[in-house]
Symmetry: C2
Subunit: 202 residues, 2 copies
């Protein structure tokens, strides 16, 4: 059983002569991820994860979602704490704005997924990051959700992500890190490609 | 300029003889939404929305996203408060679990979008809801994000949403409400269909 991806090393190292070297430390344990890659090559069943959320309607368009447990590495797992998220529609939609709009959660997920990827890829490439900031914009024509025009889609027409990164690297190196992050991003994949969703009532 | 979708009526009504009638009240101002639909038919420019999030890398795979302003109905809008969201990878990925995993935010968005839709559609159909609960599961093979097998996608293979709804309606009526919510859900559309995402470094 693979219980976790490894210890707490984060890229500090000593040189061959035992002298402390200045090494890159973005706080990502890349060695653990590389070890996990090797371990999971021979244990594909352990790589099957199930992520979960539960949601309760409160009133109007306001609901509350909770995230705590998930399944992976062959067994039930738990986040350290259960997190609760409020969602609602804004006041201009005649709602009470008791949380962000559901469609905005998609941007939160995309931003954080690409950002984690940037940190991991930079660590793997030996590039020290100083700051990583991003702005996301998702354009949507609400004539879709209001059912005004069936040619207008309900969701985003397009999403633009703009990164501003300060790192010990050239612009092309930074761009290559961001490109690699996109290439391995779970949320980027979910948004840019179709996912099968089944909805049931019990 | 359309400033908002309407007042605060939520479906209470008086009968033709002035007697109070028992009416359905799910807390959704459907009349405002119907009025907005009429208004936006003649003002497609006002229907163009831009939703936004910003994100800052903290350390390792931990980042912090904020949501406050958006653009719609022809002008800048603000949520009542700015909301901050923490994202990280779990401890079994050798991370610190300082927030939920980015891919879990997608489930939060989907759950809350479908739930708001259920409330709005039920209101429009004159069906009183008592409770709406849902459980979401997204299956993902992490050999994708780890780059073990290029045939394995990075994101969800599939997502299952299970609703449990207590309402003054038959099972087929409840199923029809959920189906209509899916049909008009922005997040459901984003997940089940491709969205163009552009990523830039400035």
């Amino acid at each position: 059983m693979i219980r976790a991806f490894g210890g707490s090393g984060t890229g500090h190292a000593k040189g061959v002569l035992g002298m402390a070297m200045t090494t890159v430390n973005n706080g990502v344990n890349v060695q653990a991820l590389l070890d996990a890659r090797e371990a999971l090559k021979g244990a594909p069943q352990a790589a099957k994860f199930t992520w979960r959320a539960s949601c309760k309607w409160r009133n109007g368009t306001h609901s509350q979602a909770k995230v705590k447990g998930f399944f992976g590495l062959g067994e039930e797992q738990q986040h350290k704490t259960e997190t609760t998220f409020e969602a609602d529609h804004p006041e201009i939609f005649a709602s009470e704005d008791k949380g962000i709009t559901p469609i905005e959660y998609v941007l939160v997920g995309l931003a954080s997924c690409l950002t984690a990827g940037v940190a991991a890829v930079a660590q793997n490439r030996g590039i020290q990051l100083r700051s990583v900031e991003s702005q996301l914009e998702g354009k949507m024509d609400i004539r879709g959700i209001l059912g005004i025009d069936s040619d207008v889609r309900n969701g985003y027409d397009d999403i633009k992500v703009t990164f501003k990164i300060d790192a010990d690297a050239s612009k092309p190196e930074i761009e290559a890190i961001v490109a690699q992050s996109q290439k391995r991003s779970a949320v980027y994949d979910v948004i840019t490609n179709p996912v099968n969703v089944t909805v049931e009532v019990v």
